[in-house]
């Protein structure tokens, strides 16, 4: 939309016959919308402003930010790899397979999306803790999971895999079955069908789902704190450092928060771009309402 048409449409709206009630309603709706928009924007602006105006510097010997960034990137990469490796087949069977309790499994797999993370942490402890269902026999073999970097990865997979599985499953479901049948008639193996027919048609959705999963894993806090504990270099990821450093050094808190925010924004923009959202239309919309 160019400037001229927009101006004209604005004028035509003004001359549109409207009752006083309509006008009042429109005005109050606009006020309410602006209130909420400001409520969303203000905290980001304030966070960046405070981070940039903090005085002094982080002590030179303090490596907590570096080790949290390294740990976060490492664990989320491991979690993303596990999610692709294990989540893709699961999503495929949920989309294509026929087996008992499929619906129930489908719901259970998505539950962590709405589950409070701290409850997820408690559930993980109940399963893999030293007194857990699986954790106890493992502990007797001399293998404990809580308070290890592995626990961090498990917590991340648990809370974030559903985003990938959901995206993959719903994409797999929309690939027309005829393509698969045709390939099968041509003598393609199941693996070849998956690799050559389904995967090429789903790659965008899979990458988009994976980025969402990764961003969720990066922000994981509650389950990690409960299940993996908090120790610099081993289990203290960036969100745990944001929380922990509040009592120690606000600069560390704000710098880490900014890094997290930047990574999350980048991930989000990437998914928007991948899902083919029209950037131009978007820009126009924000200019029109601003």
């Amino acid at each position: 939309m160019d400037v001229r048409t927009r101006t004209r449409s604005r004028y035509s709206r003004r001359f549109w016959p409207a009752s006083r009630g309509d006008r009042a309603l429109g005005l109050s709706a606009a006020v309410l919308a602006v209130l909420l928009a400001v409520f969303f924007i203000l905290p980001f602006v304030a966070l960046v402003w405070r981070a940039l105006t903090l005085e002094g510097q982080v002590a030179a010997g303090d490596l907590s930010i570096v080790s949290a960034v390294v740990l976060s990137l490492g664990t989320t990469a491991a979690a993303a790899a596990l999610i692709v490796l294990l989540g893709t087949p699961l999503a495929y069977f949920l989309a294509r397979g026929r087996f008992p309790f499929k619906r129930a499994l489908s719901v259970l797999v998505e539950l962590p999306i709405v589950m409070p993370p701290v409850v997820a942490g408690l559930a993980l402890l109940s399963a893999f803790g030293r007194r857990g269902l699986v954790g106890m026999p493992l502990a007797e073999l001399g293998f404990t999971i809580p308070f290890t970097t592995l626990a961090v990865v498990l917590a991340q997979v648990f809370v974030s895999a559903p985003f990938y599985i959901r995206a993959a499953q719903s994409r797999f479901e929309t690939v027309p079955r005829e393509y698969e049948d045709a390939a099968a008639v041509d003598g393609a193996s199941r693996w070849a069908i998956f690799r050559l027919v389904i995967l090429p048609q789903s790659s965008r959705a899979l990458v988009g789902g994976l980025i969402l999963s990764w961003a969720r894993a990066l922000g994981e806090f509650g389950a990690t704190l409960l299940f993996a504990g908090n120790l610099q270099g081993r289990t203290q990821t960036m969100p745990l450092l944001v929380y922990g450093a509040l009592e120690r050094d606000l600069r560390i808190t704000f710098i880490t928060a900014l890094i997290l925010l930047g990574l999350a924004a980048a991930a989000f923009l990437l998914t928007r771009w991948l899902s083919g959202a029209d950037i131009d239309e978007d820009g126009d919309f924000s200019a029109g309402s601003g």
Binding site: L25, G129, R130, P146, F147, L246, E247, R248
Partner: protein, 267 residues
């Protein structure tokens, strides 16, 4: 007829925000009579201060006490960020001093009101077979402590600083998690997820018998934790805040604290 109905509808639609504001105002008006004071207290005071607050409320009609328990360092951080409160009870002097320096507590208003000693705790089944404080440096023990800045950690570090260097290295190498307050530390032991922790004597409450086991720290190595309380300078209920501080220092308050395992404040 139809048109009239519509205007009536519109009018009532436009009236509801006003009604909402009036309703909110009415609610607010109704609450003015009870006074609420907010008390920020160290996590180790959870049991004792819950009881003190209940008795204080019973003795002072129209006063409600809102309690916020967390690590003293976390509370101090919240207070310096301007979270409103009326009273602060800290497990050490450091956090009070921080608030005095930042102007949130007037100098000289802080009073010691209780004392505590430290102890080692292990899960009831003592999976690592710990029998003495010296065992905590043994390789392979999963040790949980509060994070640096939390008073109980500072007292623990003080004890460890007095031990031989070999012990110190082994002790900190065993650390698997640093918790934000002492009650989180206790919880990790009660859950059986770690082998040992250093907490306050008073943390081993009645509720925990059967879940955790205490291993005393030798008297000559142990340190005394001094708890301080003060009204906050920005309190909007100074009289009530002072009354709460006085009550914690009164014989009634001290009896409750003693029942929860605290000693009288050091002279």
């Amino acid at each position: 007829m139809n048109k009239h109905k519509l205007t009536a509808q519109l009018k009532s639609d436009r009236a509801w925000p006003l009604l909402l504001i009036l309703a909110l105002a009415a609610c607010h008006g109704g609450q003015v009579k009870t006074q609420e004071i907010t008390v920020f207290a160290a996590a180790s005071l959870t049991g004792a201060f819950s009881e003190i607050a209940a008795v204080f409320e019973a003795e002072n009609e129209g006063v409600r006490v809102l309690l916020n328990f967390a690590g003293s360092s976390q509370l101090a951080a919240q207070l310096t960020e301007g979270v409103p409160a009326d009273v602060f009870a800290s497990a050490n002097a450091t956090q009070i001093d921080t608030l005095i320096a930042a102007g949130w507590i007037d100098p000289g208003m802080e009073i010691p009101f209780a004392a505590n000693r430290l102890t080692v705790i292990v899960p009831a089944d003592n999976p690592a077979g710990i029998t003495a404080f010296e065992d905590l440096a043994r390789p392979g023990i999963a040790l949980v402590l509060a994070v640096e800045g939390v008073p109980v950690r500072e007292y623990t570090d003080e004890i460890v600083a007095g031990m031989p260097p070999g012990f110190r290295d082994g002790f900190y190498a065993n650390l698997v998690s640093e918790e934000s307050n002492v009650r989180q530390v206790v919880a990790k032991i009660a859950l059986g997820e770690a082998d040992a922790a250093v907490v306050y004597d008073s943390d081993v409450t009645q509720d925990l018998t059967g879940q955790v086991h205490r291993i005393p720290i030798p008297e000559e190595r142990n340190v005394t934790a001094a708890y301080l309380i003060a009204p906050l300078a920005a309190s909007r209920h100074r009289t009530q805040a002072q009354a709460f501080v006085d009550f914690a220092l009164s014989p009634a308050g001290q009896t409750i604290l003693a029942r929860w395992g605290f000693s009288p404040p050091p002279e």
